[in-house]
Symmetry: D2
Subunit: 131 residues, 4 copies
């Protein structure tokens, strides 16, 4: 999925030491409008993108509001109800995330990792984050 970072990324570390970064993403598909005979923006889908661990740390330092990024991850559609209001949240738990080079250039600095992030562990990270 590609889109525009619509809010300044928020970064925090839980009591258990888990880094989390999240922001709102506006993703829209281009569609060909025959009447105008050109490509136009289709509808915009809004998502909350959340990342954990090393990806959260690197995103916090690299991603800004207004950037165009690509995200891959797990979609979570959740119904919530806090007594006063109810709604549906649509989140993407990012497995990968990066700037879309269609829109600019980047200077990349590699982080030395001892171990690559594990998708399954990210699921339990999410559960930790909910505490």
């Amino acid at each position: 999925m590609s889109g525009l970072v619509a809010t300044t990324p928020r970064h925090l570390v839980t009591q258990d030491g888990l880094p989390i970064t999240s922001f709102r993403l506006a993703a829209s598909h281009r569609r060909f409008d025959r009447a105008q005979n050109k490509w136009v923006d289709g509808e915009t889908n809004w998502f909350t993108v959340t990342s954990f661990r090393q990806l959260a740390i690197n995103s916090a330092g690299s991603v800004s509001k207004g950037d165009r990024i690509m995200v891959a991850g797990k979609l979570r559609v959740r119904d919530w109800d806090n007594g006063e209001r109810a709604g549906t949240s649509v989140e993407v738990e990012a497995d990968s995330l990066g700037h879309d080079l269609c829109w600019g250039s980047s200077v990349f600095t590699r982080t030395v990792l001892t171990r690559e992030p594990e998708p399954e562990e990210e699921v339990s990270d999410k559960e930790l984050a909910a505490k």
Copy 2:
């Protein structure tokens, strides 16, 4: 798709003025090995990733051999035969491409675009490139 840039990106401009950048990408899935009780690399799939126009220009200046990137695009599986040898090439025509922030940080500089790249036009770009 995510993977490791395995060759130094090559950049050229065709006689018609079309910028093209391409490189080989090694993409592998992680899988959980129950015997070892940990995540290990699955098989590696090799692709030639090709980009055009603004994405080609930005990729040439930003992507290096050894970088970890994400790519989204169209898969092209082509059988070829040049008389002496025959084979199958597996290419990805990139619509988007960027560094995977799981593996490092990036400083992003936006290019001022007059017009966003159009997917359909990229198809005809490919045809131009074949001349």
Copy 3:
């Protein structure tokens, strides 16, 4: 996306003659739980799946509540507000849909089509359907 058809599909034809079929889909990812050393159901995501034209006609006659299906299409995340209540609807406009043969067998009868459904036209179908 794969999942379980959770409601009996509803079928209708608009005043303009557009066939529409829709139903609720429960899609969950399997994840490996190390503690139990086996695969378990992850979270369930709920979607409203909508199809148009020939796909709607065929789905209405073939898909039942309780079936396991596969869907490919466009995700639409929409915020709505009708004065009294507000919420977010998560819909999939299906481009393709069919029974998942992991779960059973099927006898397939081909419909004679004069013309294949066009993705772009489905966008304008959606707009017609909203009237």
Copy 4:
């Protein structure tokens, strides 16, 4: 991925009792041709689709040459060399597969399963199949 079943599916059971079904699939993207002002077939990608266990059994009884199907699974791009000739095979190991209801109707009969197919086990199935 969607496409046309181009060969009669072949079904066999290995010495270890593993059911396997495979066939060739022709998948092409539709693209909008501005010159003709209509949607036309883009390039065709050819894949060998392979399924295992319950999916293989059900596919063998349900899928015929000429059917239009949807497939989801893992892409495997492999270089091979048998001494005389060398080439690249492009395979999809199907996790799900079914008839595309854009093209017809189906009567679905559910198989009673004791246990849902596990993706990770399919990886080791592939290894077993290679013996």
